[in-house]
């Protein structure tokens, strides 16, 4: 049990550290901080965008209010995810760890920088996807894994159980 918890904690710190290191590396690049793009290949650019997560507020006071509300909500979600990590097992557990580690990375930036630095710009034939960061990759993959588990694996398990009865 203790060993399992240590592994869980290590994986959580690992996902958070990968995200933080990537952001430290990108924010250390002068070219990108000056507002220029770095073209890695035909489909991938590095372009720094500071994502506040709120832009529909007309007054700046409203923006700050909603920003704080969303930050508190995400912090509450992280606590809920930690609860789910310890409650679940196997494939689901790793998916929750990925989501929680990514969310921790983004909340850290929200508190320290007051916005989240996004820098990965995927594009094809002038069509640009949303600019994202490593934490977003963890969250998205984690959520997709959970949906896959809920829709396909759970159904498969239920079918197997009904066959046994």
């Amino acid at each position: 049990m203790l060993k399992n918890n240590i592994i869980t904690f290590f994986l959580l710190v690992f996902t958070f550290a990968i995200d933080r290191l990537s952001k430290i590396y990108v924010l250390g690049l002068e070219e990108i901080v000056d507002g220029n793009k770095i073209s890695i290949n035909k489909f991938l650019n590095l372009d720094l965008v500071w994502n506040k997560g709120v832009a529909f507020g007309i007054l700046s006071f409203e923006e700050i209010f909603w920003y704080d509300i969303i930050t508190i909500l995400i912090s509450a979600i992280i606590l809920f995810l930690i609860f789910l990590i310890f409650k679940s097992s196997g494939f689901k557990k790793y998916a929750y760890i990925a989501v929680c580690g990514g969310a921790l990375g983004n909340v850290f930036d929200r508190i320290v920088y007051n916005c989240v630095p996004d820098f990965i710009d995927l594009n094809y034939n002038d069509f640009h996807w949303f600019i994202f960061n490593v934490a977003d990759i963890f969250i998205t993959i984690g959520i997709f894994c959970l949906i896959f588990d809920e829709v396909i694996l759970e159904k498969y398990k239920n079918d197997k159980n009904s066959e046994n009865y």
Binding site: G35, N36, K37, S39, D47, V49, N51, K52, G53, V54, A55, F56, I70, L73, I74, I77, F80, L81, L84, V99, A103, N106, V116, D118, D121, H128, F130, I131, F132, D136, I139, T140, I143, L146
Partner: protein, 107 residues
């Protein structure tokens, strides 16, 4: 209940990821990215020698051309001077002699 909480929390997380900022940029038309692309430097292929480059004739060097021109001009000048010396001098001498002889005869 937990299932609903999970769905809501995932929706909030996804919204926070892709954020309203990105949607706003999309609606406004992301001018930054378009203008920035104008200055992206496209990589060009390295320079390559044309095929059968070694078979092409070698160009004549400028020094040789200049020397040839100088020689030609010198030849022309020399030839013109020599022609003058050879043709004009005896003619003038004979004409002078004739004119002097005519004047003497007249006197």
């Amino acid at each position: 209940m937990i299932k609903i909480a999970k769905i809501i929390s995932f929706i909030i997380l996804l919204i926070s990821i892709y954020g309203c900022q990105s949607i706003k940029d999309g609606l406004e038309g992301n001018k930054k990215s378009k203008s920035a692309e104008e200055f992206l430097i496209e990589k060009k292929n390295p320079l390559v020698l044309p095929p059968d480059f070694s078979k092409l004739p070698t160009p004549i060097s400028e020094e040789n051309i200049d020397n040839d021109k100088d020689l030609e001009i010198e030849d022309i000048l020399n030839s013109s001077v020599s022609e003058k010396n050879s043709d004009n001098k005896p003619a003038t001498n004979t004409s002078l002699e004739e004119s002097i002889l005519k004047k003497i005869n007249n006197n």
